[in-house]
């Protein structure tokens, strides 16, 4: 790791202004991706501006079915939230199987969403929940927020302060882990409200997280595992690496979708 300066602001405004005043500062929100990259000397920000102590980015609010989660909320807090558990099974389950205990204690939803790692879990949930991503500058729908692998619409000095969504009637998430890294090699989040079903897929798409339209349509007509049985996923649009060819990932998308529907609550 190269030398860096650490800052601990107490407000969003202070954080934004701090990053603006640095040479190549970056926001730190758990650091579960950034710190390993820095240790490998693959990233060398001049300054780290830590968001985990910004009060206005903390806390989970559930009003009826309206859910708002602060950007600095950890995966562990989501996993531990009875309110989230009661209104959105899929997200609660996701948080409970995300990473490992250390990652769940340190990592935050804002950091994960802002980083948009192609193998991260939350982007699939944000897409399927049709969530709104609140930033220090604006509010953006998830479908517009995620742009590509590790890319979002965020500016360098823009912070994900919260995410919000209307909790679906039922939701589920299933993923298949990369045997080595244990990141999602494919994760599928399904959310159903009335006759509307949305399907977010992470870990598999060559362009990062995506909404699987065909599956959503089929499941809207019949919310059952078998509804996706006859669909096919084009391997051409899938990631391919040592652990999973595009054909294998295309298969996993279907299998995980079936299982997410089967386990949805």
């Amino acid at each position: 790791m190269y030398e860096t300066n650490y800052h601990r602001p107490s407000s969003v405004e202070e954080a934004v202004s701090l990053v603006g005043s640095t040479e190549s500062g970056k926001f730190l929100s758990g650091g579960m991706s950034l710190l390993p990259a820095m240790k490998q000397r693959l990233a060398a920000p001049s300054d780290l501006v830590d968001l985990r102590h910004v009060e206005e980015m903390k806390g989970i609010t559930v009003n009826g079915r309206e859910v708002r989660i602060g950007g600095a909320v950890t995966h562990f807090e989501i996993k531990n939230s009875d309110e989230i558990k009661s209104v959105c099974y899929g997200l609660h389950h996701m948080a409970s199987v995300l990473g490992d205990p250390q990652v769940r204690y340190m990592g935050t939803i804002g950091g994960s969403v802002a980083n948009n790692d192609p193998a991260a879990d939350y982007p699939a949930a944000m897409i399927a929940l049709d969530a709104t991503i609140h930033t220090s500058k604006r509010a953006v729908k998830a479908s517009e927020f995620f742009v590509g692998l590790l890319e979002t619409v965020l500016d360098d000095d823009e912070i994900v302060t919260a995410v919000s969504f209307t909790a679906p009637e039922i939701s589920g998430y299933e993923k298949f882990r990369n045997p080595a890294s244990r990141y999602a090699m494919c994760g599928v989040f399904v959310a159903k409200t009335g006759s509307t079903v949305r399907v977010g897929v992470t870990g598999a798409g060559a362009d990062g997280v995506f909404h699987w339209d065909e599956a959503a349509q089929a499941l809207s007509a019949n919310f059952a595992p078998d509804a996706v049985a006859n669909l096919s996923v084009d391997p051409g649009g899938m990631l391919s690496d040592l652990h999973g060819s595009s054909e294998y990932r295309a298969n996993l998308v279907k299998v995980m979708a079936k299982r997410a529907v089967a386990s949805a609550k």
């Binding site: 080595a180 890294s181 996993l252």
Partner: protein, 781 residues
């Protein structure tokens, strides 16, 4: 046995310091004025070094010195060596290319060391290393054995034409051909043994200290055999004569073979300490460990087995290409030859065997012995063949094995080894009973009802431990003898120090070795200290590898204890005015049999040192040494059975049950043996299911160079193991022990793959059986 003697599951004495973070490893060592080193390494798998410009790096803060291969050569530091000469079938010696501790003209794998940067802090050294400007001219790269042998392949060393190091044979080719000509059935297989990264928990490290006042060097290093390190560094690398070089291997956090070898870094740290005038410490980071720790396995094999009409084996032909990487590591020539092909008879009567092994250079990390060293490769060939043969012949896998088991001992195989004892059927029966082999069909049906595919597979392994009779290995090309030494020092108060040439890096020697003394003299293990790992304390030793520390190291201790016991009895007899032959030692007392006369152990020891009243002519003191040279290898054997369930939708394999039935001969500490089996099984199952190196064939970059891509086994990948022991005591050593350190890693891979191929109904499946691979095998079948 007593509560701390042979056979007692005594808790490990060393664990208190290990589990409370109080172990003292090489990186914990601090000496006055110590500075820190970082190595500049090649980012290319094959390139000419055109120029090394250190001017920018030398100007960085804290930099003390930057040294390269040219200076190393100027100072007369020698090449790294391979310590086992293997000859090709035409009688020519192996074609070994030069391995410079710092590459001077050519780099041959990603990670090849080019220069060392010494600075006040590690961070400063690292920053400066980034600014050492090495100009390379890239050369074509080859990573696989078939490509390396092909006409026109990149030439890696001028000494090895077409990258062929040797073309070695073992066995009787004509007799084997004759056997095949009479065969009713021939089973043929292509088998790949995947390359592995050892991944010891503690990365390698070295601290080199040159004392100008005494013209003396001290090297702390992560070694499994510090005396061999000293010998090699003085005799071949010209670092310093042995009397001017002390090597200390303190607590070492795992080795699995990878810390047997003498690597460039410890030599360069010692040399750099003299050259820069400061003590130089280097600590490997995990990425460097992936790139530069000697890798294991990496065989490509074609094998054929001939059977008669009654399913008796007539003969075996094996052709193996072994990838040795870019340089020949210390025992790299022995691993795929004398440690591999000599086990190709397995547990079976095979009248004729012929093996041909080609060793090949590639632009990859050097490959050497890794937990099992040749025997896992041999076992994998044998037991994949036997299971596949049973399927092709339409007989049950255990019955085919039973029919061909060796049942009388000693048994001379056609490939050098003389098996001394064993009861292969006992282990087979125990394993089959433990896993309820007979009930498998109903369990499979139950899995099918849930849409899952269940399979069962076995492996009946035999291996060779207790390496090795010195004269025998000498005749086969070994550069060293493989005896072991021990010294037993009884202090004046009766406490005991045992100095051993074995080295403990996780095996629990401090406990098991002390149990020998508890058994012999009835003193508590707390009054026994095991001293090892320091060439200034222990006169000479050959170290720990090949599961030799029990069979060889403890046998040396037994010989020294015999001498101590004899002298102690003489003293006691003299003091109690009894006949020496009537003295017995029990519960820390020397007694005159049949009387109530006793002498406490400590009083006897005190008498030896006060020397006021010793038998006439006896020397004072009580200290005895011994060297033990084994008469044969030992032959642990057993049967492992694995039961798996495959999810056909994802290809993921779950191990439902794994039973191990081992014959290790007599056992000193069952708990420690069980731990060794668990660890070995985790590594063997890791190889079968999870681990594997992948190089980019075009660039020679190691793709699996971190835990993001290299799949280390984790607790949730493994079932709870069911372990049992069937004991035939080894007749070749005084304790009757065979060795247990590697069996788990040797026996388990074929059991896992046999189980998965049984589940999915195919014979061809390569390790690691990743979900993707199993899914593809199922869907492309």
């Amino acid at each position: 046995m007593g509560i701390e003697g042979i056979g007692a599951s005594v808790l490990r004495k060393e664990d208190k310091r290990f589990i409370t973070g109080k172990g003292r490893y090489t990186d914990d060592m601090v000496v006055p004025g110590m500075k820190h080193a970082v190595f500049v390494r090649s980012p290319y798998a094959h390139a000419k070094i055109v120029n090394i410009d250190t001017s920018e790096a030398e100007a960085m803060p804290g930099v003390i010195g930057i040294l390269n291969g040219k200076q190393l050569t100027e100072d007369g530091i020698g090449n790294l060596i391979c310590g086992w000469m293997v000859h090709s079938k035409d009688g020519s010696p192996m074609n070994m290319g030069a391995w410079r501790p710092l590459a001077q003209d050519t780099v041959r794998y990603v990670g090849d060391a080019v220069a060392i940067v010494v600075a006040d802090t590690r961070a400063q050294a690292r920053d400066a290393a980034d600014l050492v400007n090495v100009e390379y001219e890239e050369l074509p790269v080859v990573t696989g054995v078939e490509d390396a042998l092909a006409e026109g392949a990149p030439q890696i060393h001028p000494e090895a034409k077409n990258n062929l190091i040797f073309d070695w044979v073992l066995g009787d080719e004509q007799a084997t051909a004759d056997a095949f000509s009479k065969a009713a059935h021939v089973v043929k297989m292509d088998i790949v043994n995947n390359r592995l990264v050892p991944n010891a928990m503690e990365p390698r490290a070295a601290l080199g200290v040159y004392d100008a006042a005494e013209d003396h060097y001290t090297c702390w290093t992560t070694s499994q055999n510090p005396h061999v390190a000293r010998l090699v560094m003085s005799a071949f690398y010209n670092v310093a004569p042995e009397n001017k070089l002390r090597v200390i291997a303190p607590d070492v956090g795992g080795g699995f073979g990878s810390k047997i070898y003498i690597y460039p870094e410890e030599i360069v740290c010692l040399w750099a300490s003299k050259r820069t005038g400061v003590p130089v410490k280097w600590n490997c980071d995990r990425t460097e460990a992936f790139l530069t720790d000697a890798h294991g396995r990496d065989h490509v094999t074609h094998a054929e087995m001939a059977f008669d009409a009654d399913h008796h084996i007539l003969g075996l032909k094996v052709e193996t290409k072994a990838n040795l990487g870019a340089y020949m590591s210390l025992f790299s020539s022995a691993t795929p030859t004398y440690l591999y092909a000599t086990l190709l008879s397995g547990q079976y009567n095979i009248p004729a065997i012929h093996a041909n092994v080609k060793a090949i250079y590639t632009n990859t990390t050097p490959v050497d012995a890794y937990r099992g060293a040749g025997r896992p490769e041999a076992t994998y060939v044998m037991e994949r063949m036997m299971e596949t043969a049973a399927r092709q012949l339409g007989v049950s896998p255990p019955e085919l094995r039973r029919k061909n088991f060796i049942r009388s001992f000693p048994h001379q195989t056609p490939v050098i080894m003389t098996y001394d004892t064993g009861d292969f059927e006992a282990s087979l029966n125990a394993a089959m009973q433990a896993i309820d082999y007979a009930g498998f069909a109903s369990r499979r049906a139950e899995s099918e009802s849930r849409g899952k595919k269940r399979g069962i597979g076995m492996s009946c392994y035999i291996e060779a431990c207790g390496i090795a009779p010195s004269a025998a290995v000498g005749s086969l090309g070994a550069g060293v003898g493989l005896w072991e030494s021990a010294e037993v020092r009884v202090n004046a108060v009766g406490t005991i120090e045992i100095l051993t040439g074995s080295h403990s890096h996780g095996q629990g020697h401090e406990t098991t070795f002390a149990q020998l003394v508890a058994e012999r003299f009835g003193v508590g293990i707390d009054s026994v200290n095991i001293v090892h790992g320091d060439t200034d304390k222990v006169q000479m030793g050959m170290g720990t590898y090949g599961s030799r520390s029990g069979a060889v190291g403890m046998s040396a201790i037994v010989k020294a204890l015999d001498k101590v016991e004899a002298k102690a009895k003489k003293i006691a007899a003299h003091l109690m005015e009894a006949d020496e032959g009537d003295i017995v030692i029990e519960n820390g007392e020397l007694k005159v049999a049949g009387t109530d006369k006793t002498l406490p152990w400590f009083q006897m020891a005190l008498a030896a040192y006060t020397a006021h009243n010793l038998p006439s002519g006896m020397e004072p003191g009580l200290k005895e040494g011994a060297f033990y040279d084994p008469s044969n290898f030992t032959f642990p054997a057993g049967c492992y059975i694995c039961e798996v369930e495959v999810d056909p939708d994802t290809g993921k394999t779950e191990i439902l049950n794994f039973v191990a039935a081992d014959d290790f001969g007599n056992i000193i500490n069952p708990m420690i043996v069980e731990g060794q089996v668990h660890g070995g099984l985790a590594q063997g199952i890791g190889q079968a299911l999870l681990e594997g190196c992948h190089y980019d064939p075009q660039t020679g970059q190691l793709i699996t160079a971190s835990y993001m891509d290299y799949t280390m086994p984790r607790a949730d990948d493994l079932p709870s193991f069911q372990i049992s022991h069937q004991t035939t005591p080894c007749p070749g050593n005084p304790l009757g022990i065979k060795g247990c350190g590697e069996a788990g890693a040797i026996g388990s891979p074929p059991a896992v793959i046999n189980a998965i191929t049984d589940a999915i109904g195919t014979n061809g499946l390569s390790m690691p059986a990743s979900p993707q691979k199993v899914w593809a095998a199922l869907h492309n079948a």
